[in-house]
Amino acid sequence: MSVEDLNPREREGVIHPEVRARDDESERAQDGTRLQHAEAASKPIRAPQVREPQPRGAKIRGNRPIDQAEAAERFLAAPLHQAAHDERLWDLRKKRDTSAHGIPEWEELRELASQIKTHTLSHLDQYLEQFEAAAKANGVHVHWAKDGADHNRIVLEILKSHGAKTLVKSKSMLTEECGFRHHMDANGIEVIETDLGERIQQLDNEEPSHVVAPAVHKTRMDVAEVFAKTLGTDPDNDDAHYLAESQRETTRPYILQADAGMTGCNFAIAETGSVVTCTNEGNADLSGNVPPLQIHSIGIEKIIPKVEHLGVFIRLLSRSALGSPITQYTSHFRAPRKGTEMHMVLVDNGRSERLGLEEFWTSLKCIRCGACMNTCPVYRRSGGLSYGATYSGPIGLIIDPTFNKRKYSTLPFSSTMNGSCTNVCPVKINIHEQIFAWRKVLVEEHQIPALKQGMMKAAGAVLSRPAAYRAAIGAADSALKVLPRFAVYNPLNTWGKKREMPEAPRQTFHAWYKQNRMKDTGR
């Protein structure tokens, strides 16, 4: 049996197989086995063969609470997108499991990672000062930004002082937080994203929907449509190789001509003043090594004390994210190249305030692996854009409200609190417990709809009074009528729209007990 016969489905759907070079090595390892490193699926995803318009994300209405449920319903109404999205991310979760179960000390590594992070966060001032001193000694220009606007202003000043007009950058959730691209656009700086997924999202004028796989909610047909409109590719060619190659070819001139390059930061090492980036495409290395000016944007929570601690985090990061033992590139930028300038911008943007939230500060341990998103059954069925926030999925539910309690007040309710997120988290953030805790905070601060709280108040009143409860449940029309009243208490009957109602039993347990077990007691 030839390699081709092993997996004939893989050949399906390729409209223009000729774009794949004869010696393309992407699909098979040297020994002929199927490769699945980086973000690759372990098997071909059931890609739609018919065009289905891409569902868009949550409607943003200023400061009004995001209606995640509404956006999720629209995502579900695009079943081809939803199925591919669910299957793809569940595959990453399975690859993560396989990878983790291959490491006997996995749980110990998670505990160590958690302890290193909590230690660093509880001594963050000292480590930031140590980092700054080391970086300065390396010849790096260090800047501090209180918030996103501050970050954008600082970067703009650096660029202007060099007469820089174009900037290539690698993926950074921090710059998404800061609204960096929009600010640069408005100031005449051309910004080019160099991560394929992020570039797709930039060209489609959409936020990334996932911290690791920004365009995971799109099918290749969606990408073909975006590229046809923006890069001038063949609209009928949705072969992933053709699309990726088109992006490479159109991005390379920008990389070569850019006045400046920017990266985010996965880890910042206090003892050496280094910035560590983890990518699969090598685009952070291009951004950092080609233009004459390099800028690294660093969230202040990214600090870890020592190089040796990377021996814990690097082993966890890509395995948790993708099931791959390491990203293709793990890059350590410490000092500028000869004749060039290196800037590092340390950004707070709410982090120092979050540190003071007793129940929520450990969310700062997050290393942005996306494992909680991959495993989240709600996320996989709603799409990341349904959250209407920079951070989606479980980690988003507990971080977003720290940016805006009103706008993101609904997000902690978009969860079943099943706890899988907590178990996959490589730094052991108790995500589902923080979701639970946020609900309490939001209720106390009157950030949930009055109707919802009113229902709960009514439910609490009935459930705390046995006589009232029995009167409600013992009514002639069986318990069916009171399901909405005492248990889910829902005037809209959303249960019955999607599910059959439970059958009404002849009598409640309570009545049975009274009839069968209490005859002798005379009650």
Binding site: S26, A40, K218, G311, S324, I326, R337, W361
Partner: protein
Amino acid sequence: MSARDAILAEIRRNRPSGDFPLPELPLFAPLVGDDLVAEFGERLKRMGGRVAEPQAGDIFAGVRERLDGAKVIASAVPELTGNRDLRSIRYPQEVEDVDVAVVRAVFGIAETGSVLFTEDQLIVNAVAYLAQHLVVLLDPADILPNVQAAYRRREFGHSAYAVLHTGPSATADIEGVLIHGAQGVRSLTVVMQPKTA
């Protein structure tokens, strides 16, 4: 107050209560067998890289076809003479037309199939990304068992730039379809070859 002082003050004000000591890192047993060369090669292949066996009289036998097909070869190793001298490069952009770059790794990691470069090996850092293909010489004696052992090496604290490459540039951002050469090199081939004194 400067942003720096404001941030540090806010951090001090909000310092989490409790004692959070920095844990000692135990030395974990390597997850690989004793044959580090074989283990390294297996892991590298899983990450999309290739291993080429040198033959008597031709170190580069396994990549000969690639070298023969290349117009521009940039070599940073004495074992091969290319036609683009990296030491005379002034701007990184000048290596954008390189077809094959040949460099030596500082060390390899068996756990992951990674190789380490610093600016000393690359001469022009960008060549490891702008070239179409990368050929790496690795001394079998320079293979470390695991990532933890790698991060005990001094290069990370002393080089301006240190990078672990594990196979070629890769992406699967479109429907999980694996593609090599997303932005960087389309292939990475390791040739096991002891260092010459």
